[in-house]
């Protein structure tokens, strides 16, 4: 009996829900909330689940009763009634009242999601195809966060790391107990920043700023993913938030600021081919590889090959310009001048001109990029 089976399923669902362990990876329910917003959403969902579940049981129960009792095979004689104004008014008004009862807490939850004022710190989040950039606006530093688990492409059975697809090289480190305001935007297409345990999902829209907020209760690692289809590697731009106690966070921030001060490259430094090529390979794998591939062969029809490309093997200036300013013809090729340092751009171009079947032997020095940046204003 279809109804019996479905009632069974939903009954199991409810039992599992009500007893769900609030672990990090809840199998049948929302992830364990780690912020007041997430808790609000969790409780609201639980309430809705009970209300809708009971309505379903009621509706299917009545139908099941009719199916069992009012059937021809039991020689049940059909009545002929076909309207009853009272009943019809009742089953219009009762759902309305239920909805009103739901609307009250739902409205309060929306309003608290939207109250982004009174923040302790502000992070600007920029979505790129296919990575996130985090800027700590109060402290004037920032970094890009890439997927760091290996891309398999292999058959199943290969051992995958525990946090496969949910690990990044540079997590967003934040203090607990502080109201964090997010300003979100994107560089190319729409992305969406979603960390379930923090109760935040907000689209990042190119050319516009949107805001959201949260305050993390306790230290921990919170993981999420981009949740708006943003092209080929939509599934490969995870989000990791590393929440630390305010003291640990302050230590991390100071170290980070010190590191930023010493690590800045001197754009006037002259590099050797080997050193630039080595650095360029790293820059390439973090930024260029998803489209142009490790082999430099690209993806025919979508992303052009660099191995043997006339641009990469031809005039240096044209190569510089397309990397720095992006491609007019193909918007997927971004303007990397806005994203990478002079040294990184010099390194990656040097790498591309001396990798795979390309053997130009040319070295592009950071000073050349610096000059281009100067001339472009």
């Amino acid at each position: 009996m279809s109804c019996l089976r479905l009632c069974g399923i939903s009954a199991i669902w409810f039992v599992l829900h009500s007893t769900a362990v609030q672990g990090e990876t809840a199998a049948f329910n929302l992830q364990a909330p780690a912020t007041s917003l997430a808790r609000l959403e969790y409780d609201l969902h639980s309430m809705l689940l009970w209300v809708t579940g009971l309505i379903f049981l009621l509706v299917s129960g009545v139908m099941l009763f009719a199916i069992v009792r009012h059937r021809k095979s039991r020689a049940y004689r059909a009545r002929t009634f076909h309207e009853n104004t009272t009943v019809e008014i009742i089953w219009t008004v009762i759902p309305l009242l239920i909805l009103l009862a739901i609307a009250w807490p739902a409205t309060r939850a929306v309003l608290s999601q939207k109250s982004t004022h009174g923040e302790d710190m502000t992070i600007r989040i920029t979505g790129y195809q296919w990575k996130w950039r985090y800027d700590y606006l109060d402290d004037n530093f920032g970094f890009v966060s890439h997927l760091s688990t290996p891309r398999t492409g292999t058959a199943a059975g290969a051992a995958l790391p525990e946090h496969y697809l949910l690990e990044v090289d540079e997590p967003l480190v934040l203090p607990t107990g502080r109201k964090v305001r997010l300003l979100l935007t994107a560089n190319d297409v729409i992305h969406s920043w979603w960390v379930p345990q923090l109760g935040v999902k907000q689209d990042a829209i190119p050319g516009f700023l949107r805001d959201a907020w949260f305050m993390v209760d306790k230290p921990g690692i919170y993981r999420g993913q981009c949740s708006e289809l943003c092209g080929k590697d939509h599934g490969f731009m995870p989000i990791v938030v590393d929440a630390r106690s305010p003291e640990d966070y302050a230590r991390w921030r100071d170290a980070r600021l010190k590191q930023a001060a010493t690590a800045a490259d001197d754009p006037a430094k002259a590099w050797t081919l080997a050193a630039l090529r080595q650095r360029g390979e790293t820059v390439y794998s973090q930024n260029c590889l998803p489209c142009h591939q490790a082999s430099g062969k690209g993806i025919p029809g979508n992303f052009p090959a660099l191995d043997g490309s006339p641009v990469v093997n031809g005039d240096k200036a044209a190569h510089l310009r397309i990397v720095f300013f992006g491609s007019q013809r193909n918007p997927a090729m971004q303007a990397w001048g806005k994203q990478l340092s002079d040294t990184d751009i010099a390194a990656v171009i040097t790498y591309e001109r001396n990798a795979w079947g390309n053997h130009s032997g040319q070295v592009i020095q950071p000073a050349e990029i610096h000059a281009l940046r100067g001339s472009s204003g």
């Binding site: 279809s2 089976r5 009719a66 219009t92 739902a106 190119p206 949107r210 979508n302």
Partner: protein, 542 residues
């Protein structure tokens, strides 16, 4: 009431054109209806194969069969083909076949336009499928084709835009035909408030199609202009706004949901009374509920955009308006159950699919209420929960109702009975594996799995496995349907004029199979609610 000897009612089977010309130059509503239905079924199989490709890739974490760029093409085309190639043409086909028979019209109002609205479909779908082999492959921005991603893609996107334009023209012409037929060609005595619910549902659906297909055309034309003609509708640097696309798309997209749901409501409102042997409960409230769903469907579009960052007031407006839709939808479900209540039910295949529809559509409706609450939607938007929700509404909703309709009217269309045991098997098989496929997706979404990803984190493995197994079994089960139809077309038992004891609408008053030309001239009718025929006599003009 019994009108077995029927030549007096304009029932003529002669003068049937033969060969290819019969189909190519078809103007007969029954021929065109059959073509629509076969076309829709072929597209259902194509879209189904794409779905199985998706489920095969998602059987295990890691990339096994398809690279991400191809995976995105598969999800996009699966959606587009199922919506525009399978479900919508199937409903139009049923309306073509049954509407004239249910309201006593000789044919559809514009017979030649009818021909054209069908014959636009194959070229449009060919364009869509061809786009797989052009450089860069098919459109890969999801069936919603969100800008700016859709501005980035290769020429497959241009083919898709062109295909959507053609499909839109086809749908609009089909809809105009339905509206004019219903308004103008009802037989004398068939008042609007006596029409079968299926006619009402088709009428309201047709108005929705006419209202929103041009909006979709506008949206994709703006994408085309941004791609090739240097406009900046969706580019902030040029003064545009990417979110504008979403507003325009969903102003089409939400009524589109009801374009795929209202005809299903109509079918179920015919099938349930027949097999409960009891008149439809609350006919006029059904008409009002269906109309108000149609009107409300224009006021809720931004509930698809709760995480774009709308102001709180807009969030609240669209949340309240969306929740409100639950009221008329609830009325419909309650009315169906009240129709079954104290009826004398039997459970042939059409009835089983109709009951399955009510049960599973209710689940989809209730998860819709959950999604309508903006604060909760923040967690569920763009997750597998949404995938579960709309498959409950579209597969268990639209598709199940279509199966119900085909089994229900198969005897009238072909003159033969389908094989009941195979039909029952098809139902139970579909019901079981549908739930195995889509119920776990609720859990996946709640646990945080985004939709439209080709690869996933390890904690999502188990439910994805279950869903993939379910999908393959569900797909296999549809072959039962195909076998049943093909076998019964030739070898099925000869059907009587009224194969269902409780069927009393107009289409059951004419011979089986329905003659090639019917109701020319139209009969004089006396009808009751929901198209029930009380008496019918020749108008005497023949």
């Amino acid at each position: 009431m019994d009108l077995a000897s029927n030549t007096a009612h304009g029932m003529v089977s002669a003068h049937k054109p033969q060969g290819l010309a019969r189909w190519l130059f078809a103007t007969n509503h029954k021929d065109i209806g059959s073509m629509y239905l076969w076309f829709a079924f072929c597209m259902f199989l194509v879209g189904g194969v794409l779905a199985l490709c998706i489920r095969a890739e998602l059987f295990s974490p890691g990339l096994q069969f398809f690279q991400p760029e191809l995976f995105n093409q598969l999800t996009t085309l699966h959606g587009l083909i199922m919506v525009f190639g399978a479900i919508m043409p199937a409903f139009t086909g049923l309306a073509n076949w049954m509407l004239p028979l249910m309201i006593g019209a000789p044919d559809m109002a514009f017979a030649r336009m009818n021909n054209w609205s069908f014959w636009l479909l194959p070229p449009a779908m060919t364009l869509l499928l061809l786009s797989f082999i052009v450089p860069g492959g098919a459109a890969a921005a999801g069936w919603t084709l969100y800008a700016p991603l859709s501005v980035q893609l290769g020429m497959g996107m241009d083919l898709t835009i062109f295909a959507i334009h053609i499909l839109g023209i086809s749908s609009i012409m089909g809809a105009i035909n339905i509206v004019v037929t219903i308004i103008n060609l009802r037989a004398p005595g068939m008042r609007m408030m006596n029409m079968p619910m299926f006619a009402w549902a088709s009428l309201i659906t047709a108005y929705l199609i006419i209202a929103v297909m041009p909006v979709l055309a506008g949206a994709v034309t703006m994408v085309l202009a941004d791609r090739h003609f240097g406009s900046h509708f969706f580019n902030a640097a040029g003064g545009g706004d990417p979110v504008l696309y979403q507003h325009v798309f969903w102003f089409f997209g939400h009524p589109e949901v009801y374009i795929m749901a209202l005809p299903a409501f109509g079918i179920v409102s015919q099938v349930i009374p027949t097999f409960a042997r009891k008149p439809l409960f609350g006919y006029s409230s059904m008409v009002y509920a269906t109309s108000s769903i149609g009107v409300l469907s224009f006021m809720v579009w931004a509930h698809h955009m709760f995480v774009t960052g709308m102001p709180a007031t807009a969030q609240l407006f669209f949340m309240y308006a969306t929740m409100l839709i639950a009221v008329p939808t609830g009325v419909k479900v309650f009315n169906w159950i009240a129709t079954m209540w104290q009826g004398s039910m039997s459970f042939e295949t059409p009835m089983l699919f109709a009951i399955g529809f009510i049960l599973l559509f209710t689940i989809g409706g209730l998860s819709g209420v959950t999604l309508s609450v903006a604060a909760v939607d923040v967690q569920l938007h763009g997750s597998y929960y949404v995938v579960a929700h709309f498959h409950y509404v579209l597969v268990a909703g639209a598709l199940f109702s279509l199966f119900s309709a085909v089994y229900y009217w198969f005897p009238k269309m072909t003159g033969r009975m389908y094989v009941e045991r195979l039909g029952q098997l098809h139902f139970w098989w579909s019901l079981l594996w549908f739930n195995v496929t889509f119920f776990p997706m609720h859990f996946l979404g709640l646990a945080g799995m985004p939709r439209r990803i080709p690869d996933y984190a390890l904690q999502f493995t188990d439910f994805n496995r279950i869903a993939s197994i379910g999908a393959f079994m569900f797909g296999l089960g549809q072959l039962i349907f195909l076998v049943n139809i093909l076998y019964s077309l030739r070898h099925g038992k000869t059907a009587p004029q009224q194969p269902w004891e409780g069927a009393n609408t107009l289409e059951w008053q004419i011979p089986t199979p329905a003659p090639y030309h019917s109701f020319n001239p139209p009969p004089q009718l006396e009808t009751a609610e929901n198209g029930v025929v009380l008496s019918m006599r020749d108008s005497g003009q023949a």
